[in-house]
Symmetry: C2
Subunit: 309 residues, 2 copies
């Protein structure tokens, strides 16, 4: 038995603007690769990690933990070796742990003849995600596994809605190389919010879903506002307001904090605008002492992809 599969497990953006805690989307040009191989020895073994320094112990590795959750349910008559080629920097805010957690269960599911739905895979992957973020959430897992834009309608029971995406939607990401502690990003959030702001937020999310269905970029632009979380969390990201001004002036439909940061995402109509937005973002950070990386990506409508089966 040496059947194996090589996959591309993409980066993802969660907490998309007015869809804080529920809306995410999937990237196409930034992501990890993983090779998963059936072995006669039962259990999960991480046999190779490249790119970043992550634990090989299965129970300490998010890809290992999610894979173990799957095999605890499936009880297959074999085991799996996992190689991780990590390109998404942990802590970047574009779903590094989710790519690992989702990738391993996606690959095992493929190797075993797809016994599980994507929602079931998300549930296993949440166990891995919990190791990284101390809470079971599906914000990044859902877009990684389903592709496109996803709305996590509820966690219990887990229900994920895949929303339609217009053809020419592109994301631009800037990842300032600073550390934002998840605990701090959480602590900074208010426990309660003005009813008036909450109404604005759900009005915008309703409009955004309508805009995605209608492929209405202008409405998308008018809906991409976060009146609740951004005012708090943007303070943790140096030059956020400058980035916002420069990005919108370059034609972006809207911008927001990716996950809990520090990455910032912008959405644009067309690759040309997305690249101009990238230039505008780079100009702002080039003037600072902060290291950064940028990416431009079409919205990935498929999610995790098989490179080689």
């Amino acid at each position: 038995m040496n059947k194996e599969i090589r996959i591309f497990s993409p980066g993802t953006v969660a907490n998309v603007s007015c869809g804080f805690d529920v809306l995410g989307f999937c990237l196409d040009t930034v992501g990890d690769e993983m090779v998963v191989r059936i072995s006669s020895e039962k259990g999960i073994r991480i046999t190779k990690i490249e790119g970043f320094d992550l634990p090989f112990e299965t129970h300490k590795n998010v890809a290992g933990v999610s894979a173990q959750a799957l095999i605890a349910d499936l009880k297959p008559d074999c085991g799996f070796e996992i190689e991780i080629y990590k390109f998404i920097k942990p802590g970047s805010g574009i779903g590094s742990s989710a790519a690992s957690a989702a990738g391993s269960v996606f690959a095992i599911n493929e190797l075993m003849g797809k016994p599980y739905t994507k929602t079931e895979l998300t549930r296993f992957a949440m166990k891995g995600e919990a190791l990284a973020s101390q809470s079971e959430h599906a914000d990044n897992l859902a877009p990684a596994l389903f592709g496109g834009f996803t709305l996590v309608k509820s966690l219990c029971p887990l229900e994920i809605l895949k929303l339609p995406i217009p053809d020419e939607l592109y994301a631009t990401i800037i990842h300032p190389q600073i550390e934002i502690k998840t605990a701090e990003a959480r602590a900074i959030l208010p426990k309660s919010v003005p009813l008036h702001d909450a109404i604005t937020q759900w009005s915008n999310l309703g409009s955004l879903v309508h805009a995605l269905h209608n492929g209405d970029y202008e409405l998308l632009q008018r809906s991409l506002h976060d009146s609740i979380v951004e005012p708090y969390r943007s303070k943790l990201i140096p030059h956020f307001e400058d980035i916002k001004l420069a990005t919108l002036a370059s034609g972006a439909l809207g911008i927001g904090i990716s996950g809990s940061g520090p990455s910032i995402f912008a959405l644009s109509k067309g690759e040309k605008t997305a690249k101009e937005v990238e230039d505008a973002m780079r100009k702002v950070y080039t003037k600072t002492a902060i290291q950064f990386e940028t990416y431009v990506s079409k919205i990935n409508s498929k999610g995790i992809k098989i490179i080689e089966a």
Copy 2:
């Protein structure tokens, strides 16, 4: 000049569940009739009111005030006589004042060759609505003028989105003949809400918009929850919880308070279920000393209709 038009101006449901303050829909079997007639004498005159005791003075009548807002802009070389045949009881919570305010401007616009868009008509009608409710809002005006389900994305600038509706969607309404003072219904609302509940609310509204686009009744059912306002305002409506239990047991997709009450609406798939829901509602209130009326209506996809031109 004796050109005239007779219209049906429908009742409407605002504050639809998770879409508090933004989402409304239009009824088809309950509404007022109005006759508007061009006269050589300039200005607006209310010449007949039947059904309920409402003021004839133009500046004290919502239909008059909205009509005056329109002619102040249009400056036509004629005036208008308005007859109001009122069937929607004022204070019922199903858009009685909105039917009057929207009806007069709709009719004048038709008579003058449609110089205004529906959004512009809504803006004029808001002046009339403000007379009735002491605040300019479009919650009931939007569904009355646009028909179907509407999302008032913003008031300033005024932006109304018309959402698609599935074919077999019916509403059942029960109107308990009690008075809820708008001021009390407002005062009972919290100024701020837990972030967790707000997230649930916008998740449900996003899902509801998705469900309307996909004609997905089951998702509609899972989305029709109001975690923010209903817990407060339902206390003002006797036996609300009994109605809710009985209604859902009869197969309704969901229920909620219509506007700020006292009417309660339920949504169902198909007329048969909507009528069973009506029976269930009637059974609950028949046991009490409270007078009530009930209605079953298909969702009205057109809004105000011309009966005779």
